[in-house]
Every structure is written in C-alpha cells, then in structure tokens.
C-alpha cells in the first residue's frame, strides 16, 4: 500500500500511509485508539476505498475496491467486530464463505469440514448451534477458521486477541507463526506489546501517520513501541497496585445463590474498597453473570443486593440510584446509542424529566469528555463515529463520574491502547481506594493480577477460589483450565470411601 489516505468528515483516519506485508512474515500493526488501523485493513480488504494512494496485491494494482475480487486474490480479513451470520451454525457459516457447488452439503459432510479445520489449526469451536449462542472467544476462533478455510495467502487479523484469554492468545500466535511458516503473509493488529515480540516486523500508526514504518521487531524495545504509539514513555502494561487491602471490609455487593443459564447458584461478596477479579476463559458463564448482576435479566433464582437493598431486574435507574455502576462487555449492545450524540449518551440513566436545551446539554458534557480524553469532534458528534477505544472511554466517563458505591466492570479495557487501559485501571483502583466495591470480570490475567485484592476463577458457571495476593499465577491458570474443578470432583468422590 502506497501513501493511502482516508478521511471521514473532519476526522483524518489515514494520512498517506505506506504499508507492506511479505510472505512468511507476521507484521504487527500497532496504534492508539483511533489511529486508523482498522480503516487501513478495511481498505486492504476492499471494504472501504482510499481517498488517495494505491494498493497492490502480489504486484497487481487494485482498481475497484470490492471485497469479492480481493478475497479471490487470497486476502482475508478477520474484522475487529464479528461478521458471522448469527443465525447460522459454524459449518453453515463456513459453507457461506466458501460454497462447494449450488447445493448445500448434507449436515455430516459440513460437520466434517469444521472438524478437519479445528484439528488442523487447534482452534476449538462448537458446531450445530447458531453463532449467536457461541461465546465471544468461540466466535473469534470461528472467524479465524473461516479466513483460514478460504486458504488466504494474506491474512489480516484486527485485534484478534482482544477478546481472548492469555492462553488462547498465545495459542493463536502460535498458529499465526505456523501459518507464516507455510509462506502466508500475516498482519496482526494488537494493543498488547507482549504479542508484538512474537511477530517479525512492526508498523505503528499515530493519528493516521506512521510513527514506525515497517521496522524489524527486534529493533525496538517495548518502551520504543509504546512511545511511538502514544508519544510518551510508559512500560505499556497496567501498573500494579503497590498496596492491597488485607483485612475484610463490610460487604457492599452481595450475590446469593444466583442461577442463570450456565451460572448455577453462585455466591459472592465484594467488600467496600475491595477489587474482586473474576478470571476465566470466556464462555464459562461470564455473560450470564454480567446479565444477572447488572439487572439486565432476572436471575432464575437467588438475589443480588447492594449495601442491603436487592437490585430489581429491568430497572436500571434505581440500580444506578443504589450506586451500582455498570461497564458492559459489549458497549455497542448495552452501553452506547450510536446515532445519538455524545452528550445524550452521557446522560443515559439520569435523564431529567424536562431536559435542558441542546447547547446547555453539550456544555454540561464537555468537562467529563475532556477529563476522560474522549477524542472526538465534540459533544455534538455522533457516538457511532468514535473509534473502539474512544467509545469505551465514553462509557467509563458516564459510569464512573458519579462516584458509585460499587462497579460492575466487564472487560473494561477491551480494545483500549495501553495508555488508555492503564488510565481505566488507575481510575477503577482510585474508585476502590475511595471505598467503592469493584467487581472486575476480565480476560487478561496480568490485568487482574495487577489490580485485584482477591481473584475468583469462573469455570463452567461455578466460582473457584479465593486466590489472595501474592497470587500464584500457575494455580489460577490451572483453575481457569478446569483443573480445580476436576480436583473438587475427585475430592467429593474421595470422601465417599473410608480412609
């Protein structure tokens, strides 16, 4: 790609970017939120067209930016958001992507096709259920399988690890390496500096311009990359808390025998000023737990209460009144209203019966937008024009600005660049130190280790733990892999027979 440019209204997403991907190499693409990474990849995949600049694939100049022909050239993009058809099963999604003839293969053959891929690349997915019922991790893996199934020569992965646990992420990068060794060209967008080290070359975008252009990875330290991304020098990972609370605090957030879907009679207390981290591989009941605690759906049984008063499902305003802030795992489904402006989105949950006029509302919104460094054209901007990370900051601004007594934070740093992620963590920690109970459902273990006073592992709808600092990384990792569950089972089995 040569000097590619793209602007959306005022926002300049890309400004004369050069980019190259070579066979046999993994090319890491870094950049702060809104740097233009996704845009660049969308152009390369033919889903968007550049205002200026040229794109060549295997020496062939792309004239018409249409996904079809470009796919035919062997370019496959795994987008930042899911592009599976939610009503179709894994195998149907694969058939749709690469049909074999006019007739659908009978169920078994299609299933076999999935199995082959799963075995070949070691990416586990369930077949036979609609994609909408797969966990985020599973869907991500399916997306990648689908790209690989098309036997892409050039594979573009936009923040593929953002929704994966460390273990899964490692495995994925392993797969990536294997694919590169088969002579494919890979591009991986990521915010995790650690992952860059597994790549060969790196390009860093900052506000649509290359800060580092196609450098060799070993040429740079993490610090170099981080500063290239965001100008300032940071270690690029969340700063660990120096002090952890040890003595038990009065319980604030109380969860009693809550059952919903996969979650079975789950009990948990979070004390004032305590940060409890829920670790676990995606799809072990996180989404149900989130739904129940946030009051989005009523639990089948059990009760969630905050400082004594139970949370009424389906009544978000009183939840907010009771002081429970909620950072949803999917901000676009449950956090933000794309077509409305930023000010309106900030007001959600505390809209006055009679609203001030628009200028007044916009004026009121400015401080917290600045405070949270939401990069946009202003309070009047449509929320749908925000990049992934800035959108997340907007949610945080709304939820944390009004000093909640408890916070339900679901993957709060998902899709954020290191600086932003660190800010979020710091704010949550600050909130905790101000006496707020924080329940942090996360995927990145490092993150949880850095901030938690206590970690519980969610496996197959049940909690294992507690794990207290100093944390035993290995033990937690094993529990996440279901090891604790197994031992628990054998233990109960053991009690049966006399010593």
């Amino acid at each position: 790609m040569r000097s590619v440019s793209r602007r959306f209204g005022e926002t300049v997403a890309l400004d004369g970017v050069d980019f190259e991907a070579r066979p046999g190499e993994i090319h890491a693409l870094l950049g702060a939120n809104g740097a233009g990474k996704t845009t660049l990849m969308r152009i390369l995949a033919g889903l968007d067209r550049p205002d200026a600049g040229t794109v060549e694939v295997f020496g062939r100049r792309i004239e018409s930016f249409e996904p079809g022909p470009i796919r035919a050239l062997g370019v496959a993009l795994v987008q930042q958001h899911f592009t599976l058809v939610p009503t179709l099963t894994a195998s149907e999604n694969l058939v749709l992507a690469r049909p074999e003839g006019a007739l659908l293969p009978p169920g078994r053959t299609a299933g076999v096709r999935v199995q082959k891929l799963v075995e070949k690349f070691g990416l586990e997915v369930r077949d036979g259920v609609p994609a909408s019922q797969l966990s985020v991790g599973e869907r991500q893996r399916l997306e990648i399988l689908r790209a690989l199934d098309a036997d892409a020569k050039i594979l573009l992965l936009d923040e593929p690890t953002a929704v994966l646990t460390d273990v899964e992420a490692e495995r994925l990068l392993g797969v990536a390496r294997a694919l590169a060794d088969q002579g494919r060209a890979l591009v991986v967008i990521t915010h995790r500096l650690a992952e860059v080290e597994a790549c060969d070359r790196v390009t860093v975008l900052r506000e649509g311009i290359e800060a580092i252009s196609d450098g060799s990875v070993d040429g740079y330290t993490r610090a170099d990359l981080a500063s290239a991304m965001i100008g300032t020098d940071t270690s690029g990972t969340i700063t660990a808390r120096t002090t952890r609370r040890t003595q038990a605090a009065p319980v604030c957030l109380r969860v009693r025998d809550v059952s919903l879907g996969r979650v079975s009679s789950l009990t948990l207390d979070v004390g004032e000023g305590e940060i409890v981290g829920i670790a676990g591989v995606d799809g072990n009941g996180q989404s149900e737990l989130e739904a129940a605690l946030s009051g989005r759906s009523a639990a089948e049984s059990g009760e969630v209460s905050i400082s004594g008063e139970p949370i009424a499902p389906g009544d978000p305003r009183s939840r907010r009144g009771q002081g429970l802030a909620y950072i949803p795992s999917d901000r676009y489904s449950w956090g933000l209203i794309g077509p409305m402006d930023l000010a309106d989105n900030l007001e959600l949950g505390r809209v006055l019966p009679i609203r001030p006029n628009r200028p007044a509302r916009h004026k009121a919104a400015r401080p917290s937008l600045d405070h949270w460094d939401v990069r946009t054209a202003g309070p009047h901007a449509r929320t749908s024009s925000l990049s992934g990370g800035n959108a997340q900051k907007l949610v945080l601004a709304r939820e944390l600005d009004e000093h909640p007594s408890a916070v339900l934070a679901c993957y709060p740093t998902r899709g954020l660049d290191p600086e932003a992620a660190d800010t979020v963590a710091t704010r949550l920690v600050a909130a905790a130190e101000a006496g707020c109970a924080v329940l942090w459902i996360g995927a990145e273990l490092d993150e949880l280790l850095a901030v938690s006073d206590r970690i519980e592992v969610l496996y197959d709808g049940t909690l294992f733990g507690p794990y207290l600092p100093p944390f035993d990384r290995a033990a937690i990792g094993l529990a996440m892999a279901g090891d604790a569950a197994d031992r628990a089972r054998t233990a109960t089995g053991g009690e049966a027979d006399p010593p």
Binding site: A291, R296, Y332, W334, L336, G338, P339, R355
Partner: protein, 378 residues
C-alpha cells in the same frame, strides 16, 4: 416488520443483533430522521416539492392521453384549493385526522415501533365515542360535557386498541406490524356490527348510529373547519417539545436506535414501546371521534375512509417530525381537495386520479432517496 417486532427483554445469553460495529443503521428511520441542519431542512422541503411536481408532469401525460388538457386540470386543482371559497377550510378539515394520526405514527416510528394500526384505532375510537354520546340518558347533558365525554371515550378506546398490540408484543413477542394490521381488520368488523346492531339507531332504516349532533364539534370561520383542526394545531408543538425536551421523547428516540442500551441504562424498552403505542392509539381514536362529530352527523357503515393508512405516509414524508407531519398532512389534504374538484369539473376517471396521487407519494419517497444518495456521493 422491523427489529421492534422481535424486540425481547435484553438477555445476557444472546447478544443483540446490534452488536456489530459500526452498528447496523435502521435505514429508513435514519434516512427520514436526519438532523435538521440548514441543508437538512432545505432538502426536506425542496426535494418533496420538486418530486411532487415531477409526478404531476407524468400524471399530466396520462391526463392528456385521457383526452383532457392537463394544464386546465392543474389550474382547476389550484383553484379548488386556493380560490374556491371553501378550499382552505376543506383542506384543513381533511388534514385534521391525517395530522392527529400522523403525529402518533411519527412518535411510534421514531421508536421503531412499527404500528400500522391507525385505521382500526380510529374506528374503535369513533364507535366508543359515539356509543357514549348516543347512550340513553345523556341527551340532556350540556354540549361541552357531551363533547368531552365522547372525545375522552374515543381516546381511551383507541389507546386500548393500540396498547393491546403493545401487550402482545411485550408478553409474546408478537409482530407489531401484523398485530396492528389484524386489529385494524377486527376494528372494521366491530364498526360494522356496532352500526348494524350494537349502537344502531332503531328509527333509522340504514345501518348507522343515532345522530350525534348534540355532541357536534363547533366549527369556525363560518366554514366546515371544526374544533378538531385546532386540536391538530396544538398537538404539533406539544409533540415537538416532548421529542426535544422531555425525557419520554428522549427514551422514544433511544428505543429507536438501540433498545439494548436503553434497557441496560435508562428504562424498560418494553414499557416505552407500550406507552408509545398507547399514545399513538389514543390520538388515532381521538381522530376518529373528531371526524365523526366534526364533519358527520352520525356514525355509519362507511366510516372507514382510510385516514389511518394515509397518515402512515404523512408521518414518513413528514420526517417523523411533528412540524413535518403538519406540513405533509396539509399538503396531502390540499392535493386531495384539489383533485376532487378537478375530477368533478372534468369527470376524470377516479382510477386516474388516485393513480396520480399515488405517483406523487412514490415520487416524493424516490426523490428523498435520490437526494440522500447524492449527499453521500459528496
């Protein structure tokens, strides 16, 4: 049949269909509810006018084929509206139900609650209102009291008819488009039964209710224009204010854009859905009674003249905005009145007239689309 029909209590286990990025835009809703930028207002007035003229040109060709001079026909249309003594008051009278129902639709469509049940609500409103004001023993009540009772009963009935669709949608996830469509048909049957039997005037040979002259709305300008038109005029700023400045209006817009977020942060989308259906139904019911007591002497078999359907188009051409609805309603009414008198003057086939009117609608929608694409292109 939009997502509003399958909208179900947001569940944690199945991600809402809107979880993709950029979020899927609800095409027509977004197209029609673009912000009122200077350009937006210009195009939202200029485009329909130009398109309508284009449609009239096409219509003119058909008229010519029919052997009449199109120009004289169009002249007659203008005279029918602007120079005939009653042109304005006629137009206002026809616009009244269109605006009353149309504003209700506009509110519902902003929330992507896609009701098309206005016709049925209009009819049940008329039946209930008539039943009350023709009931035994109310005859000697003062006119004002009768009017208020009638209009009140009509609004309640319409609201219930609309609310029923809301309950079915919330409790059973029944498609609102279809349930309101069905309820419209059922409402018509109800009217047929009512005038033939239920509230039949025993003295009358025909199937119709007792006269409701005791509750007739006062008319003004010494014309056919009746109090109902004032209702419509008052409703517009109220609705506008609700949309811009009241929490309910905000929730309506939020529901239209992302029910999941509304549910998780602000208010139950189910209850907003119900409320907007109730209000839209109440307005349609009001329109039914206003028409019965404003222009008719009693309720008859032929009460269903299709205002409930035309108002859908008025609402959408009006950009789901109260002011737009008022303008579109007056425009459509003017067209109707003008064509009526032209049809009388030239004895045009009625099918030709309705053909041209329908062309106008399609061309206006088409013009909007072209304008939208043209804007994109830049």
């Amino acid at each position: 049949m939009t997502s509003s029909d399958t909208r179900q209590p947001a569940s944690g286990t199945t991600p809402s269909p809107k979880s993709t990025w950029p979020p899927k835009l609800d095409g027509w809703l977004d197209a029609v509810s673009r912000r009122a930028t200077a350009e937006g207002i210009l195009s939202s007035i200029l485009v329909p006018v130009v398109s309508a003229l284009a449609a009239l040109v096409v219509g003119g060709v058909l008229i010519a084929i029919d052997g009449v001079n199109p120009l004289s026909v169009y002249q007659a249309i203008l005279q029918g509206v602007f120079t005939k003594s009653r042109g304005f008051s006629y137009t206002a009278t026809v616009a009244t139900p269109l605006v009353l129902i149309g504003v209700g639709y506009a509110l519902a469509y902003r929330a992507r609650v896609f009701t098309i049940g206005g016709e049925g609500q209009y009819l049940v409103g008329a039946v209930a209102g008539t039943a009350v004001v023709t009931a035994g023993g109310v005859g000697d009540l003062p006119r004002v009291v009768l009017i208020v009772m009638g209009l009140g009963a009509a609004m309640v009935a319409g609201a219930l008819w609309g609310g029923l669709a809301g309950v079915l949608a919330n409790r059973f996830g029944a498609s609102i488009v279809i349930s309101t469509l069905m309820l419209s048909f059922i409402g018509d049957s109800l009217l047929q039964w009512a005038v033939r039997d239920g509230i039949r005037d025993p003295e009358s040979y025909n199937a119709n209710s007792r006269p409701i002259t005791a509750a007739a709305l006062p008319s003004f300008f010494g014309q056919k224009t009746h109090l109902g038109f004032l209702f419509a005029l008052v409703l517009v700023p109220i609705a506008w204010w609700l949309i811009r400045r009241h929490r309910w209006g905000f929730r309506i817009d939020a529901l239209g854009h992302n029910p999941g977020t509304l549910d998780a942060n602000e208010f139950s989308s189910a209850r907003v859905t119900l409320s907007v259906l109730v209000v839209a139904g109440g307005l349609a019911g009001l329109a039914g009674m206003v028409e019965t007591t404003g222009v008719n002497i009693r309720l008859g078999q032929e009460a269903s003249v299709g205002y409930g359907w035309d108002a859908i188009i008025v609402a959408l051409i009006g950009r789901l905005h109260p002011l737009g609805v008022l303008i579109a309603g007056l425009g459509m009414a003017g067209l109707t009145i003008g064509f009526e008198s032209a049809q009388r003057q030239f004895e045009l086939p009625s099918s030709l007239v309705s053909l041209i009117t329908a062309f106008v609608i399609i061309f206006v929608v088409w013009g909007d689309a072209i304008a939208a694409r043209w804007k994109e292109a830049r």
